[in-house]
Symmetry: C2
Subunit: 323 residues, 2 copies
Amino acid sequence: MNLTEIIQPIKTELLEFERFFKKMMFSKVKLLNIISHYILRQKGKRIRPTLVFLSAKLVGDINESTFHAATLVELLHTATLIHDDVVDESDMRRGFPSLNSIWGNKVAVLVGDFFLAQGLLLSLKHKEYRFLHITSEAVRRMSEGELLEIQTSRSNDIDEEVYFRIISDKTASLISACCELGAASTTDDEVVLYKLKNFGENLGIAFQLRDDLLDYMGETSITGKPVASDIRDGKITLPLIYALKNSSRKESRRVMKIIKNNPRNKDIFYVIDFVKSYGGIDYTLKVAEEYLERAKSLISDFSDSLAKASLLKLADFVLERVS
Amino acid sequence: MNLTEIIQPIKTELLEFERFFKKMMFSKVKLLNIISHYILRQKGKRIRPTLVFLSAKLVGDINESTFHAATLVELLHTATLIHDDVVDESDMRRGFPSLNSIWGNKVAVLVGDFFLAQGLLLSLKHKEYRFLHITSEAVRRMSEGELLEIQTSRSNDIDEEVYFRIISDKTASLISACCELGAASTTDDEVVLYKLKNFGENLGIAFQLRDDLLDYMGETSITGKPVASDIRDGKITLPLIYALKNSSRKESRRVMKIIKNNPRNKDIFYVIDFVKSYGGIDYTLKVAEEYLERAKSLISDFSDSLAKASLLKLADFVLERVS
């Protein structure tokens, strides 16, 4: 994804954002400050603040509140990544050793908690209660979505409806929150807020569909994951759900048996072929395109601007290397 | 500690509280509900809600807001325990297998996140912004206090001032928050809030001093920890800080060397004797008593009531089996 072009209309704001963000990461505790410096050196892509600023600019004027929203969401995101690495026992993050691998699990979790608390305190200080509501709702949805995913992957009880509930909650919720936050920082117009919230929701779903597609297409350099990691993990995503539904009972049983018994490379190729031959890839691509069209149509009424162009470009980029 | 007597004045409220608490623990996700049932079966002592209700009753009338405060604080506490078990890789909690040992780290962390989000959403729904501020401040202090403790234990750079900063932040902050929350649910009077906040702060510090004392006195049945676990972990608490300050340079160096080199039982007994002979136990006990007196004096002006008697009794119980 070519971010340079997309962030053009909010370049100054993103630079200014770093100042806000940094300010919330430091405290009286030396150890914490050493760790915050370490985190800041491996600067992330700031995709969530980018969505906040672009959404704000699309519907109004970026202001102090927009910076609070972007800071809240990036603090939450940073805390989540740190906690994820503890749970997954990951040694690396963004090409650097993870916090847990350097300072241990306890320190990593505490640093994450500190960032969460700072996000809450920043919002409370500036009476950004709506932001807190949007963000807490996203956190609730993310945990519910991931728990539902684990539950269904254990029971194999998944269909299209459950799949979409999972990916909306675990992935689209935070992207949706970013767009809604940005809009909420400049306007109270419920129709506008509804549009941006749903723009993000549809964009987020398409993004997860792309991720699930790439897993079948072996583009490791984009997802950074080993090819077919979902199949290896016994994760059933849309391409497979569709193929299973459209194959014979005998065939679908055979594929399910393969997936649930530590498949080897030979088995993986068999499953990929099965999914392709029953149209699982084409179908998922078509559905992803529909979500992107829905996202784009939700912001089509706003008058043309650089921010609008960037958001539309962002939507186009989602399926760029897939279709 | 005899809780039955202490909770007498708020017995009905504690029962009613269970209903509020339960309601926030369930969702559409089956797996989550199974886990919540499991957690509710091993009912905790509800010490934090008890402090909330007693503090509310001391200064006013318990109302709907008091229940929100108690629920918020118990959700936060439950989430913290679950996350702690992941970080410490604990297999047991309250005599039952921990969530992480049954469902794995990922599920445990997600369930904790869900409870946190529910606590936030409950407070936002009822516009309990003051509660959110008090609680977020406590979370920030807890993470800072624990990080400072880890930092100083690595550098050995600890004196009485740093020690009190650590225990205020890591332990007293949440007890203080409970008392302030209870009071804030019934009154806006800043003087009253100040008193209850500081009652909790002093009580919390005394409670940690007692814990640190018991570690030297080997009362495993009370702390539930192995005797002298602080010495074994190289943790320097007030009894030792005092003894080190009052011994010769040569002696204090020797003790520090012992502590920092995986002490065996023989070494542990030596350190305990050292601390006792230089008055570290007596001094810590005296300081703890002073904090309890300060706590009690902060609520002495309130007119006599069953709630007041309970809070005073709670303060007396802190050092019951120690002095």
